[in-house]
Symmetry: C2
C-alpha cells in the first residue's frame, strides 16, 4: 500500500525577503518501507531563521526543504526502531517520509510534551544553553543583554541568566512582547527595539554596563551593546536576523568595532553543533528548571503544511511568540 | 641651574585627520631635581596610531602629550636610578623632564640599540608577540594574514609567524613596501591594499583560506579576511587605523559579520598591557631571533622635536617604513 504525502519545495530561490510564491506544495506517493526502513508520520515541524541561509546556496527547487521535526513511526522494518515510538529528526516540511533511521533519536512524551523537543528541550534550547555558557563564557551574576529575547533561543538565554543570578535586559519587537519578557520570563528590563533607543535602554537597565550581549539580530543593537559593554565583555554571535534577507547590498556592520580594543572584548560566532557533548547536562538542567517552574516557554503553532511557508516568512516580521512550529498531523 | 626644554602640546583637539595647526611647541623652564627626583634628557620618542584615540578625550591643550620614549638620566637625586643610565618611560613629546622614577625602566644599550626599545624590543614588539600568540591563539604552521604589515607591529607579527612555519600574507600601502615585505621580512605573499583587491589577493596567497587575520586596519581588508577565513579562525584586533580619524560620521563596519557564525570565528580586541607577564619570554625570543638574523626591523627617524607632530600625522598616510621615531637629542 502506498502513502500519499505532501511536501514543501522551493519553487525558486528567494531574493531578499522570502515570499509565498517562492514555495510550492508537491504531492508525492511513498512506497511501503523496504527492509531496514521506517515510515514516519510527522506531527510537528520547526521553522527557524537559519533556514533562510540554507536557501541561498544549499537548498534548491526540486526537493523537499529540511528542518527539525517530531514524528511517529507508523511502520517499522528496522529492528532498532519501535513501531509507534516518537522520533526527533531532520526531515521536516513534509507529512510522511521513509528513512533508514539515520539521524533519528527517540523522544519520550512523558518527560516533556512533544513540541518542547523542537524548542526548549531541543535545538533552540541547546543553542541558548551552549551559546551563553560556552561561547559567552558566562559567569554567575554577570549582566546580560539578549536581543530577539522573546524568541525560542532568546527567551531561554534570558531565563538561564536570571536563574543564575543575573541582571537581564531583553529587546523584542512589540510592546506586548516586552511586557511578556518582564512578567512571564522575569527579565529585569526590556524594550521595544522598533520604538526605543537601544543605547538609552541599556543605560537605563544596566547603569554599570553589560558583560555579555547574546547577539541574535545585528544592526543598531550590536552597536549599542559594544558602546555600553564593560571591560572583558563577550558577544556570542548566534544570529543576525536583521541581515539575513539582505539581497544584493549587504547592510553595513557596526561602526564601533574599535570598542573591542580598549575593552578587550571577544566576539564569538557559534553554531549549536559545537555543543553536542553538553546534551545530557542540558536536558537535566532544563527539565529541572521547567518542572520547578523557574523556566517558562511558549509556542506559536500554525496548523497544517499549507501554512508552513507563511509560518517561516512570519519569523522575519516577528509574528511568533516563542518557538514557531507547524502542526503537520494530530498526535 | 634651570633647564630649558621644549614640549609639544595640543593647541586644539584634532577633528578628523590631525593637522599641523592642531599642535604647538611650548618652551618650559625646569628647576633642579628635588629630593628623590631625576632629570632626564630624551633621546628618542615614539609616535603611534593609538595616540590619536587619546587626543579625542584624554589629552587636551595645556600640557605636553605623552608617549613612549628613551632618555638618559642626566641628574639623579634618586638613589635607585643611576646618573648616566638609559631609561624607557612614558614622557615623550618633550626634550627634558623631571620625574620621581615611577614607571621608568632601565634599558641596556649593549643588548640592543636604544631605538629598538621603542620598537621590536619594546611596546610594538610585545603587541605583536602577545597579540598573535595569545589573542590570536596562534598554532605553529597556521596561515596568517596581517594588514599594515610593514609597520612596527605588523612586520613583527609576520616574521614571528614565518619563523614558526606559517604561510604569511601581508598588505601595505605602496609597491615599495610590498617588495620589502617579501624580500626583507620573508612574507609568502604581499599586496598593495590601495591598488589590489584584498579578497583576490588572499585567494592567491592562501588558496586554502586563512586561520588568523591580525587586524590593524579595518575596512575592506577585514571584510575580505572574514570571507576567506577558515573554520575556527581568529581575528586578534590590535587596531583599526582606517577608522581612527573618523570625525562626526563613523565609517561602517564589515557587512559580513555573519561569516563568524557558521565558521565559529572569534574576534578579540586586545591591548599590550594584557601581556606584561610575557615580557621575559618575549625579550629572550626576540633577542635570539634578531641575533640569528631571522627577524629584521626598520626605523624611520625624524629629526628634532619640531618635526614630532609631522611624524605623528605621517603615520596616517603611511610615510613610515617600520617603527616611526623622532630623535630628540644626540646619544
Amino acid at each position: 500500500m502506498t502513502t500519499l504525502s505532501r511536501e514543501v519545495h522551493l519553487k525558486s530561490r528567494p531574493v531578499g525577503m522570502p515570499k509565498p510564491e517562492d514555495f510550492e506544495i508537491v504531492q508525492v506517493e511513498l512506497p511501503e518501507p523496504g527492509e531496514g526502513e521506517v515510515l514516519v508520520r510527522n506531527l510537528y515541524m520547526s521553522v527557524d531563521p537559519y533556514m533562510r541561509g540554507r536557501m541561498r546556496m544549499e537548498w534548491g527547487p526540486g526537493t523537499a526543504l529540511m528542518g527539525g521535526a517530531i514524528g511517529q513511526v507508523v511502520k517499522s522494518r528496522n529492528p532498532a526502531i519501535t513501531e509507534g515510538s516518537y522520533v526527533s529528526h531532520g526531515a521536516g516540511w513534509r507529512e510522511y517520509f521513509l528513512s533508514d533511521g539515520t539521524g533519528m533519536g527517540e523522544v519520550d512524551p512523558a518527560l516533556a510534551p512533544l513540541p518542547a523537543y523542537l524548542g526548549v528541550m531541543g535545538m533552540p534550547g541547546l543553542t541558548a544553553y551552549g551559546g551563553l555558557l560556552k561561547a559567552g563564557q558566562y559567569q554567575d551574576g554577570e549582566t546580560v543583554f539578549v536581543s530577539a529575547a522573546s524568541g525560542a533561543v532568546g527567551s531561554v538565554v534570558g531565563q538561564i541568566a536570571r536563574i543564575k543570578g543575573s541582571t537581564v535586559i531583553g529587546s523584542a519587537g512589540s510592546d506586548a512582547k516586552v511586557r511578556h519578557l518582564i512578567k512571564e520570563y522575569g527579565f529585569t528590563h526590556a524594550f521595544n527595539y522598533k520604538t526605543a533607543d537601544p543605547l538609552a535602554e541599556l543605560r537605563k537597565g544596566a547603569p554599570q554596563g553589560i558583560d555579555i550581549y547574546f547577539e541574535n539580530v545585528g544592526g543598531p543593537q550590536l552597536e549599542a551593546a559594544l558602546t555600553h559593554m564593560r571591560q572583558w565583555g563577550r558577544i556570542p554571535i548566534c544570529g543576525m536576523i536583521s541581515h539575513y534577507n539582505d539581497a544584493e547590498t549587504l547592510s553595513p556592520g557596526p561602526r564601533n568595532l574599535t570598542e573591542t580594543i580598549y575593552k578587550h572584548i571577544t566576539l564569538r560566532g557559534f553554531v549549536v553543533s559545537e555543543y553536542g557533548d553538553l546534551q545530557p547536562q542540558f536536558r537535566q538542567d532544563m527539565s529541572d528548571w521547567i518542572k520547578s517552574g523557574q523556566l517558562k516557554y511558549h509556542e506559536t503553532i500554525s496548523e497544517g503544511i499549507e501554512n508552513a511557508a507563511a509560518a517561516f516568512i512570519g519569523l522575519f516580521s516577528g509574528q511568533n511568540d516563542g518557538k514557531m512550529l507547524v502542526r503537520l498531523g494530530k498526535e
